[in-house]
């Protein structure tokens, strides 16, 4: 009983998938700002990976006699209050920003999607409890939720990723929930149910792949907000503890010297802005591809 449908389905399915992908890629490539964003994202990832090669100095080497020196040939963006090279610290800061941004979205994305799919598919009491919780969490600003979780967990890179992932869970859950509600009623899901497939298989093989597209788009937009949140928490002093260079913390340390040496704050800020902007551009472009009505 499984042989017949798969034989008739097999020749058409792969072709449809390829052309759909090609169409999506063409639509994305036509969107100039999205392409610029994608190139920027790739560039930023390269900077993070090759930080030790690119950075002209060790980002942690202090030199108190040379503290707060302005830009020079050797130290293009000057030196901070401990005499460390600002440019090298910005380059290394890329690593923390990307690590936190990407891993927190992955972690929160998987957890949130699982919650949303389960709530949407099973309905009833599970749905009521889970979605009520999600709505409550969603009502709080990211920053305040992140701040609270960091206050409870204490400082550290892993904890920062956890805290930001926590703020991502309700967002992903909401979207996954809505999509699951729609998919649940579709024939192919009902059919596999009627065929007696186990619920786990239905969720994993039929529901999850079909909501992945939308979630990937949102993931790139939300990576942007995760990076911004990381910088905000670091700026408040609740991020990765010093001396590890992070942009938010550099901006904070620089505010004291804002009128004498504005580069200390403003330069890492440009790096932050560019990174968040790049991820936003890509996400916006992807969204236009999926939903042509929202874009141009």
């Amino acid at each position: 009983m499984t042989a017949t449908p798969s034989v008739t389905m097999a020749p058409t399915a792969p072709i449809a998938v390829i052309s759909e992908r090609r169409r999506a890629w063409r639509a994305f490539a036509r969107n100039r700002s999205a392409v610029v964003g994608l190139m920027l994202v790739i560039l930023i990832i390269l900077v993070a990976v090759f930080a030790p090669v690119l950075a002209p100095h060790n980002p942690l080497t202090q030199s108190v006699p040379n503290r707060l020196e302005g830009p020079s040939r050797d130290y293009l963006l000057g030196r901070d209050a401990y005499g460390r090279d600002v440019l090298s610290r910005i380059i290394y800061g890329t690593r923390i920003a990307l690590q936190v941004g990407i891993f927190s979205v992955l972690l929160g994305g998987f957890a949130g999607t699982a919650i949303g799919v389960v709530a949407g598919y099973f309905g009833g009491k599970t749905e009521a409890v889970l979605m009520r919780l999600v709505d409550v969490l969603l009502a709080f600003p990211d920053l305040i939720m992140g701040l609270l979780v960091m206050a409870v967990l204490g400082p550290g890179l892993g904890k920062l990723i956890l805290a930001i992932a926590f703020t991502m869970i309700p967002r992903f859950a909401r979207i996954a929930y809505g999509q699951t509600l729609v998919l649940k009623e579709r024939e192919f899901v009902e059919a596999s149910h009627a065929l007696g497939q186990r619920t786990g298989v239905i969720l994993y093989r039929h529901i999850a792949p079909n909501i992945a597209g939308e979630l990937v788009v949102l993931a790139s937009l939300w990576t942007a907000s995760a990076i911004r949140l990381e910088a905000s928490l670091s700026f408040i002093g609740l991020g990765v503890p010093p001396p590890t260079p992070t942009w938010g913390q550099m901006i904070r340390e620089g505010t004291v010297y804002l009128s004498s040496l504005p580069l200390l704050s403003l330069a890492p800020g440009v790096a932050l802005l560019l990174t968040v902007f790049a991820f936003n551009l890509v996400g916006d472009g992807l969204r236009d591809v999926l939903d042509p009505r929202s874009g141009k």
Binding site: L137, F140, L147, A151, S232, I236, L238, L266, L272, R293
Partner: protein, 313 residues
């Protein structure tokens, strides 16, 4: 209408209850003993025991939970661990600053964001639209604290027009407003970007509706079509999204207050976090929860005013 408002207020109670429970649970899952966290690892056992009694940590969890809810019902938010003052007194002194800042930012964001979004939608795919879209996406990418620093550098450190530190009290209204300008613009601009994008996409949907085309076809002037026919139905989703927008403002106000060293709820919260003042932190969270639930109810009420169809539900 009154009945609707009453019903909506009643519906807020379970939500508020859920929020308060989550706050309580979050504060209790802290690894390690909060008493040690406050006193440090080298505290004597007696001191820790005394503090545990004072914080009510020696009681069973369900009792702590009931005490916490009962306290809130009576308007008692507990005492600060650091200053030993009632938390509510500290909150009350800074709350007006945050409300003032948020209100000013809302005005700025709506006054710039709605016209900019409409313009962008009407001039779709022109240079104007492209410009507005890029600028608003950049605005969304900038955290409030960075915009604040830029304004601070150019308008107060360089030009000297505004004070860099915004602590003026309410005794001198002029000076207070002067100190409010930079923080309000900072917070307002981030949200302007959000309002602009929201208005643009809502207006694009409305503009493609048949009745707008009909209004155009019968020769009404374009401005009249926009204001009378397109803006009114467009307002409905815009109002509905205002709740999200206010949540953004609350998050942004924390950063803005931090940058400008301005007193406020956000600054108090950051201070409580770094000083590990768990009871004050909890009290501030409760106040935030109240504000958020109230704002959402308010948004619902305005929503039904703008769209009478909603009243029947």
């Amino acid at each position: 209408m009154l009945r609707f408002i009453f019903k909506r207020l009643l519906l807020g109670i379970p939500t508020l209850f859920a929020v308060l429970t989550i706050i309580f649970l979050l504060m209790r899952v802290a690894p390690g003993d909060p008493a040690y966290a406050v006193l440090g690892d080298y505290a004597t056992d007696d001191a820790v025991a005394a503090l545990r009694t004072q914080m009510g940590l020696d009681k069973p969890v369900w009792q702590q939970y009931l005490d916490y809810l009962g306290g809130i019902l009576q308007g008692d938010l507990g005492d600060s661990l650091v200053t030993r003052q009632p938390a509510w007194i500290q909150i009350r002194t800074v709350l007006p600053y945050t409300l003032e800042l948020t209100a000013a930012a809302i005005v700025i964001a709506l006054a710039i964001g709605i016209p900019a979004g409409m313009l962008s939608a009407v001039r779709r795919n022109t240079f104007v639209d492209y410009f507005v879209r890029v600028i608003s996406l950049a605005g969304l990418s900038a955290p409030a604290f960075y915009i604040g620093l830029l304004l601070m550098y150019f308008l107060s450190a360089k030009a000297g027009w505004f004070p860099a530190i915004s602590t003026a009290g309410f005794d001198d209204p002029l000076e207070n407003l002067h100190a409010l300008v930079l923080p309000a613009i900072t917070l307002g601009l981030v949200e302007t970007a959000y309002v602009t994008r929201m208005t643009r996409s809502v207006m694009l949907n409305v503009l493609s509706d048949d009745y707008v085309r009909t209004a155009r076809a019968k020769g009404l002037p374009s401005r009249m079509v926009m204001v009378r026919h397109a803006l009114r139905p467009g307002l409905v989703p815009i109002v509905a999204l205002t709740g999200v927008f206010v949540i953004g403002l609350i998050g942004g106000s924390v950063l803005t207050e931090e940058v400008f060293a301005r007193p406020g709820l956000g600054k108090l919260m950051v201070g409580a976090t770094t000083r590990r003042d768990y009871t004050l932190l909890q009290a501030i969270m409760v106040v935030y929860a109240l504000i958020i639930v109230l704002v959402n109810i308010l948004v619902d009420i305005i929503y039904t005013l703008v769209d009478p169809r909603m009243r029947k539900r």
